[in-house]
Amino acid sequence: MNSRVLLAIAIAVIGAAACAGLPLILAGEPYLMRLVTMFSLLLVLAASWNIVGGFTGYPSFATGAFFGLGAYAAAILQARGLDWRLALIVAGIAGAVLAAPVGYGVLRLRGHYFAVASLMLGAILRELTTGWSDLTGGGMGLTVAGAGGDPERLAAFSLRISLALAVLTVLLGAAIKWSRLGFGLDCIRMNETAAAGIGVDAQKLKTYAFTLSSVTSAIAGGVYAGWIGYIDPTDVYDVMWSVKPIVAVLLGGVGTILGPIIGAALFVALEEIVWRNVLSFSSGGLGVLIVLLLLVLPAGVLPSLVSRKRRP
């Protein structure tokens, strides 16, 4: 128990220090600042996905759907003059309002069927967003005022808020994992029938997990919209927003607290390397990376290192 509290405190302290310090340290390095912001957003999504995909064991491909939903909710509200803080909160609420009923329905499915249904959710939202052009601008996209004013302040601001959100999401993950809810999710992941047999209300707990994970994903979308300043449906509902967090968590270690952090950092670094060194095959390079990762390190970096230490 104690080591857990220590870990949580360490994450919070380091996170707070990073939120306060990094924007200042990186002030002269806008590119690094951008990379760290990207890392933070990926971390939010990875840690969010980990709640459903890692703790509960449901292979969700819906992260991108909620990311896009949050991006649009925040962007539309900001365009209507709402304060960015409120806009982010409403984006989170929008995520929850969609996730709760959808999750309740979709989470009755298992395995491939769940994966397909969750994948379809993003496609449907994208089409609806594109179609409802009076509200969303449709295929024309939407310009977001953002919160920071001039570009430099916007960059620093976006870094700070995405880092803060990342720290909160990791802590949320830890809180869930070490709570009654997390214990129940563990049971569900390992054996849902047996879990029901000992009184675990699987449907309820799964829906909680799915909803919480969607809230943070949606807020991440809102932060992203303000940061980039322009969103369109193909961009924010891109299936990559669902796949990259999964790859990051697979890279770091599924179902662990630190896995998403390590995974997101490695992923951003690897992606950057591939992107710099391979010009027109960079998406393909990402594919090669995924294939290699799953063949060589199927359990992720963190568990591989830990199990190495344990072995004689």
């Binding site: 009654r180 214990f183 390992m190 054996n191 029938t193 879990a195 029901a196 047999g197 009184g199």
Partner: protein, 251 residues
């Protein structure tokens, strides 16, 4: 006004055209030990699934403690004291034995704290004679130990009624003796128990009453001695050849 603990009324369940359970009715009283027997495919496990909420009946109703529980979810029933074990053991593979049992203590509503749940689990493990497996993962335990783990998980929930689905399957006779001892111990605490078996031999010494299923239907129900001599039961249940063997075995 004497309400039965469990009252199954005309329950049926169909899969496609197949009637897995066909108009079955029976009652159980508090603290009773009953054997539910029948050959493979007689519909024993389906019946357990129907009563414990893992399947919904196509027809009929089920009363538990005087209340209608037809179609209630398994987790709701578990919290109300209706527990079961599975024919094939279903442990949580990444949890230690202790946490396997602690989860049951927690989610059946007997405690909300982790420390409380683990304390209760500890007692349960010792009580069922597998205290030494406390920190083991299920994969490191023998089948007999895992069977006891399932019993511990059920016991810690302090059930009123416990279904044991082929709890002896795969065990040798020594191990079976041990498990039967545990079952007696649990029964002595006033828990009603339904033992699902296809070997009549096993349940004979333990259950004063038997319920016999055949092709989804209730074939007979009554005191064990009577049932054991009931020719239609013997024939349906064991086939003509087995019937002869069975009768020859009578003391």
């Amino acid at each position: 006004m004497n309400t039965a603990l469990l009252d199954v009324r005309n329950v049926s369940r169909q899969f496609g055209g197949l009637k897995a359970t066909d108009d079955v009715s029976f009652k159980l009283n508090e603290g009773e030990i009953v054997g539910l027997i029948g050959s493979n495919g007689a519909g024993k496990t389906t019946l357990v699934n129907l009563v414990t909420g893992h399947l919904k009946p196509s027809r009929g109703e089920i009363m538990f403690c005087g209340q209608d529980i037809t179609g209630h979810k398994p987790h709701v029933l578990a919290r109300r004291g209706l527990m079961r074990t599975f024919q094939i053991v279903q442990p949580f593979n990444d949890l230690t034995a202790l946490d396997n049992v602690a989860a049951a203590a927690m989610f059946t509503g007997h405690t909300r704290s982790f420390s409380g749940a683990r304390e209760q689990a500890d007692v349960a493990l010792s009580n069922l004679g597998i205290g030494h497996c406390r920190d083991h993962l299920p994969v490191r335990m023998t089948l007999a130990e895992r069977k006891r783990l399932e019993l511990a998980r059920a016991w810690v929930a302090r059930p009123k009624l416990l279904f044991l689905d082929e709890v002896n399957a795969g065990l040798n006779s020594g191990e079976i003796e041990g498990v039967l001892g545990m079952i007696r111990k649990i029964a002595a605490e006033g828990v009603a128990i339904v033992i699902i078996e296809h070997l009549m031999k096993v349940v004979k010494g333990l259950c004063p009453r038997l319920i016999v299923l055949h092709r989804g239907q209730l074939l007979a129900s009554g005191p064990t001695d009577e049932i054991a001599r009931n020719p239609s039961v013997i024939e349906a249940y064991l086939g003509a050849r087995g019937a002869a063997a069975m009768l020859g075995e009578q003391p």
